[in-house]
């Protein structure tokens, strides 16, 4: 479904990603864990084209979204790029809802841009999504009237409104008070149960262990270890992974 090969990313002289491979199968949930500055978020941003990779390639559903040749990033022609790009959705740490639009408008804005959009079908779909994340009663409210957890659930519904095939999460609970993380994690878990393909960058080890099919541990711009949650979280084979896990447990 998704296959990223040899992704490199440099910011000036700092190499943040040093050749990362990632592949995700349909219906799988992959959790990416690791210390701050390990490159997890940058990887997700490269996959979603918020950053341009300096080397490597990315295939979605057997089609290239980009590949780098001779140090130059090559995209398919714009319409193709747009079509392939739309198979990905991204949920941000800081939600980034549009503050001047109501909850419902936040969801409908992007799907409505399609020329052949069926307005009523989109609204129906968005209402269902709001119902699913438990916020149908907030449809007419504005983001500033919601709690952090509610905002993030709206952001998840907004990403789902475009029917992505792969949904990415960039530390979806890191900006939330502890008592609000649960409701967001439950929403993501619910999507996992419906076999949504997801890549989740997270610091929530319990959640990663419970929901992910594969856990990837990144440090210093490379993937140190990957495997089932049992392997990576409970019996890591690499010293660096063990150090990271023991630091978490000792707090």
């Amino acid at each position: 479904m998704l296959s990223a090969v040899n992704i490199h990313k440099r910011f000036g002289r700092l190499e943040v990603l040093k050749g990362v491979d990632l592949s995700v199968n349909k219906g799988d949930v992959v959790a990416i864990i690791g210390p701050s500055g390990s490159g997890k978020s940058t990887l997700l941003r490269c996959i979603n084209l918020l950053e341009e990779a300096d080397e490597g390639s990315l295939m979605i559903d057997g089609e290239y979204l980009f590949r780098v040749e001779n140090g130059k990033i090559i995209y398919p022609e714009p319409a193709e790029k747009h079509r392939i790009r739309k198979k990905l959705g991204l949920v941000f740490q800081e939600f980034h809802l549009f503050p001047h639009l109501s909850v419902m408008q936040n969801l409908t804005l992007a799907p409505m841009q399609d020329e052949n959009a069926d307005k009523e079908a989109i609204e129906e779909n968005c209402r269902n999504l709001l119902k699913k994340v438990g916020l149908l009663d907030k449809a007419k409210n504005y983001p500033f009237e919601l709690s952090g957890g509610q905002k993030q659930r709206v952001a998840i519904a907004r990403a789902m409104a475009l029917n992505p095939e792969i949904l990415c999460f960039d530390e979806p609970t890191s900006a939330l008070d502890p008592e609000l993380t649960g409701e967001v994690l439950r929403t993501i878990k619910q999507l996992a149960e419906e076999h949504m393909t997801m890549i989740v960058v997270t610091h929530e080890m319990g959640f990663a262990g419970e929901v992910a099919k594969e856990v990837v541990f990144m440090d210093d711009g490379v993937i140190v270890e990957r495997g089932t949650p049992d392997e990576v979280l409970r019996n890591p084979s690499q010293q660096r992974t063990r150090d990271f896990m023991s630091k978490l447990l000792s707090i």
């Binding site: 918020l50 959705g89 549009f98 804005l109 992007a110 504005y142």
Partner: protein, 231 residues
């Protein structure tokens, strides 16, 4: 006291000053009408990827914000015709060139205020967090839709207070047109003070200005309240 014992004098003074107020309002309205779009253009140049456009906008803002508005008025009315005559002379023409006083004043104000508006727009656009652009990007919105549906509505809310400042300052700045002998309201008041040896015209002028700025303050508050539906 003359104005109280001879009501006819008061009426004719008020009539005179209301006539001057028309000049004040004319300069004010025309400046706002044209300085806003010009400011938007300069703002776009200032934020452009093209280094030349950026440079031109920088110099423009540096000059019009960095030198006195009074000097710019004098230059427009007295300087530009001299330069124009010189240029016409180069082509062998002996024609002279004059600018209408009101036109010169309005042009100088437009050029000056556009520089301030450009910087206010730029501040507004740059204050929108990057996350808004990123969210629009991952939702597949085109840059046109992103600007008009996401960025601009949020910029509008943020620039109401600073634009309001300029709108009110402009009312008072129009008094500067006396340097090119354009007879606005304050000009008429000053003439009446000299003629009648009374401070009453100044007091009336102050009241006139306060009425104008008072009405604007009220209108601006209403505009701000329109944007109150979100934070």
């Amino acid at each position: 006291m003359k104005y109280f014992t001879e009501p006819d004098r008061l009426v004719s003074l008020l009539r005179e000053m209301l006539g001057g107020t028309l000049i004040t309002l004319e300069v004010w309205a025309l400046t706002l009408l044209f300085a806003q779009p010009l400011g938007l253009l300069i703002c776009q140049m200032r934020m452009s990827k093209n280094g030349f456009a950026r440079g031109v906008a920088r110099v423009y803002i540096f000059y019009f914000r960095g030198s006195p508005l009074m000097l710019q008025l004098l230059f427009m009315f007295f300087g530009v015709p001299i330069i124009a005559k010189g240029i016409l002379g180069l082509f062998g023409s002996g024609a002279t060139f004059t600018l209408d006083r009101t036109l010169a004043a309005v042009l100088a104000f437009i050029l000056n205020y556009a520089a301030y508006f450009a910087e206010i727009y730029r501040g507004g656009i740059q204050s929108i967090p990057r996350g808004q652009y990123e969210a629009a990007h991952v939702l597949g919105l085109s840059s046109k839709v992103t600007f008009f549906k996401i960025i601009l509505p949020q910029v509008a809310k943020r620039i109401v207070p600073p634009i309001g400042n300029e709108v009110i300052t402009l009312v008072k700045d129009t008094a500067l047109v006396y340097v090119i002998a354009l007879q606005d309201m304050l000009f008429k008041a000053k003439a009446a003070v000299n003629r009648d040896v009374s401070v009453m015209p100044f007091i009336i002028a102050a009241i006139f200005y306060l009425i104008m700025t008072g009405v604007l303050t009220h209108l601006l508050e209403r505009v701000e309240r329109k944007f109150d539906y979100y934070k």
